[in-house]
């Protein structure tokens, strides 16, 4: 077990060293995070959507900042498994005595650490520059993050599996990305849309994730978001095993056909 954790540490170390060599890119990413936080907070403070947001009992500024901050986690979770199928390194790692689980976690760990840094930047800008008041339920946040990431990793595995077979263009990740931005409760609440469209929001995990995470940021208890927790848990139970089954089948098929690194 310790050996596997240590391997994950070396995956992170490798990615941090690689990342640190792109100095201009780091500067641009930090600036993007700051600029994004400032622009969404400004937009939120001037928009007239307070009526709808009475549902959530938070200001539109808080709504937007939390949505944008945590959408980086969703992005990471959605592309998590795809990152492991880098054809340049896939075969080299698959011939080593390292399990697929360690490989997937190790390859994506740095992405989640970076997402956490982005969340901290967004929330700090919100608090310091726009007076967003946060009262974070840490245990609840971790639970919601775990369930949300779990459900989306299921989609990520389905997308990665398809990508392994068709080699270019992953329709699942593309579709989930679109659904997140329009129906995911990231930039605006789905309640502002016609009811027929709202239904789409209610069947995707992103809606429940963003609803629950916002409430955890303003100090609600886990019991108060039990419906969202149940919905996310149910989606995890269905999507995660389905994704693992599809990913394993596609990986096995590509191995059998000898097309694993044909990108």
């Amino acid at each position: 077990m310790f050996q596997e954790i240590e391997k994950i540490y070396y995956f992170i170390k490798r990615d941090v060293i690689s990342f640190s060599t792109y100095k201009t890119n780091i500067a641009l990413m930090v600036l993007s995070a700051l600029f994004g936080a400032l622009s969404y907070a400004y937009l939120g403070s001037n928009a007239d959507m307070q009526r709808v947001l009475q549902l959530y009992n938070i200001s539109f500024t808080s709504y937007l900042l939390i949505g944008m901050a945590f959408s980086t986690y969703i992005g990471q979770a959605l592309t998590l498994v795809q990152k492991t199928i880098n054809p340049w390194h896939l075969e080299e790692v698959l011939v080593s005595p390292t399990g697929l689980g360690t490989f997937i976690i190790g390859s994506s760990a740095w992405g989640f650490i970076w997402s956490t840094i982005v969340v901290v930047v967004y929330l700090a800008v919100g608090s310091l520059a726009f007076g967003v008041v946060l009262s974070i339920n840490v245990a609840g946040t971790v639970l919601v993050l775990g369930l949300g990431i779990g459900a989306l990793i299921g989609f990520s595995m389905i997308g990665a599996g398809i990508l392994i077979l068709i080699k270019e263009g992953d329709p699942i990740t593309w579709l989930i990305g679109i659904l997140t931005s329009v129906f995911g409760n990231v930039l605006f609440p789905p309640q502002v849309m016609p009811y027929q469209l709202q239904i789409i929001s209610y069947v995707i995990p992103q809606y429940y994730f963003f609803t629950a995470i916002r409430l955890m940021m303003v100090g609600w208890s886990i019991q108060m978001i039990l419906p969202e927790i149940l919905a996310l848990s149910l989606m995890c139970v269905i999507i995660l095993p389905l994704g693992y089954f599809i990913y394993s089948w596609c990986l096995k098929t590509a191995r059998r056909n000898g097309t694993l690194s044909w990108f």
């Binding site: 011939v95 080593s96 056909n257």
Partner: protein, 341 residues
């Protein structure tokens, strides 16, 4: 304890793909046709512990497919394969712990933004090199390959030879008993290639490593390998010591002739002669039209037929030598084609 490091029984790998049929008469439904390629065909092979075994074959002969099956990347369709006594399908982790693998495109598996040392540090972790021994082992391997001074230099600044050596260093890190080296010298200059070959030979002789060395460079295989297997269209057509394989062509005679002013059509005419088993032609000087012909004749009497043709066609003879058969002659004899075909 078994003396066999690598063993295969009736090992077979078939690739199936669909290809587009460009015949305009075919209907849309028939436009894609199934193509089946048997990359490895009922292969039986035994490589002893400590042996440096060369696997020769032209492109597409099945060398890389065999390496990928042995290192657990590809599952076989039929037959069995064992590495260090472990089954490549059922005991994958044990197989991986027994192996160091270098793929023909070794640079792909190296992280370009990390220096040599950091690359090896990462791979030593995922290959379970004990933490306390890690630094010592990395420096030892870098020293063995002459890269110690370049350990902390950016990988992008490495020459082609250094990049191949680093890829080999990665394979050596866990100190595995068996090495699978897929065309390790491909793309290297003469000096780098020679130094890498010598290093691999020493690994087998001094460190008692079993090495499976695939190549399509006949001479390098005959220089360093204890035994050679010739793979053609997935089948092992010969497997013996280099000298024993060369003796396959002993039944004929090999003559090397340097000539000027000979055309391709004339070379073909010589090839069609009754006493000529095979001929290879190499341009030595395109301006003077000078070529080196290597003739494999049924017997030495057949030479008079060839020389008579040269006289008739006014082809100038510069040099003529009776040669010992090489591994390449044996290869052509066995497969009916040259390695570059």
């Amino acid at each position: 304890m078994s003396e066999i490091a690598i063993e295969t029984h009736c090992l077979t790998k078939i690739f199936k793909s669909k290809i587009r049929n460009l015949e305009p008469k075919n209907s849309i439904l028939k436009r894609k046709e199934r193509l089946t390629v048997t990359a490895v065909d009922h292969l039986n092979l035994k490589i002893k512990k400590g042996e440096l075994f060369g696997l020769l074959g032209p492109n597409g002969a099945g060398k890389t497919t065999l390496v990928k099956i042995l290192c657990t990347l590809l599952p076989p369709d039929e037959g069995e394969a064992y590495v260090n006594g472990f089954d490549v399908v059922r005991q994958q982790m044990d197989v991986r712990r027994s192996l160091g693998t270098l793929f023909s495109v070794g640079e792909r598996g190296v992280f370009w933004r990390l220096n040599g040392y950091r690359n090896l540090e990462f791979f030593s972790a995922i290959y379970n090199v004990p933490r306390r021994k890690r630094h010592e082992r990395i420096m030892e391997v870098l020293d063995l390959l002459g890269l110690k001074d370049k350990a902390f230099e950016n990988y992008q600044k490495y020459s082609g030879g250094m990049k191949r050596k680093l890829a080999l260093a990665r394979a050596l890190l866990p100190d595995p008993p068996i090495l699978l080296l897929d065309e390790p010298t491909v793309g290297l200059d003469v000096i780098s290639s020679r130094s890498l070959r010598e290093f691999i030979k020493n690994l087998s002789e001094e460190a008692s490593k079993t090495v499976l060395y695939t190549t399509h460079y006949i001479e390098e295989a005959s220089q360093i390998c204890n035994r050679i297997g010739i793979l053609n269209k997935g089948k092992l057509v010969a497997c013996d010591t280099p000298n024993a394989i060369k003796s396959i062509v002993k039944k004929g005679e090999v003559v090397e002739i340097r000539v000027t002013s000979i055309t391709d059509a004339q070379v073909e005419a010589v090839k069609a002669m009754e006493g000529v088993i095979d001929i290879t032609s190499q341009v030595e000087d395109s301006v003077l039209g000078q070529r080196r012909l290597r003739l494999h004749l049924k017997n030495i009497d057949s030479l008079s037929q060839v020389l008579h043709f040269f006289l008739k066609e006014k082809i100038k003879l510069i040099d003529l030598r009776h040669e010992e058969p090489t591994l390449e002659d044996a290869f052509i004899e066995l497969t009916g084609r040259g390695l570059e075909e």
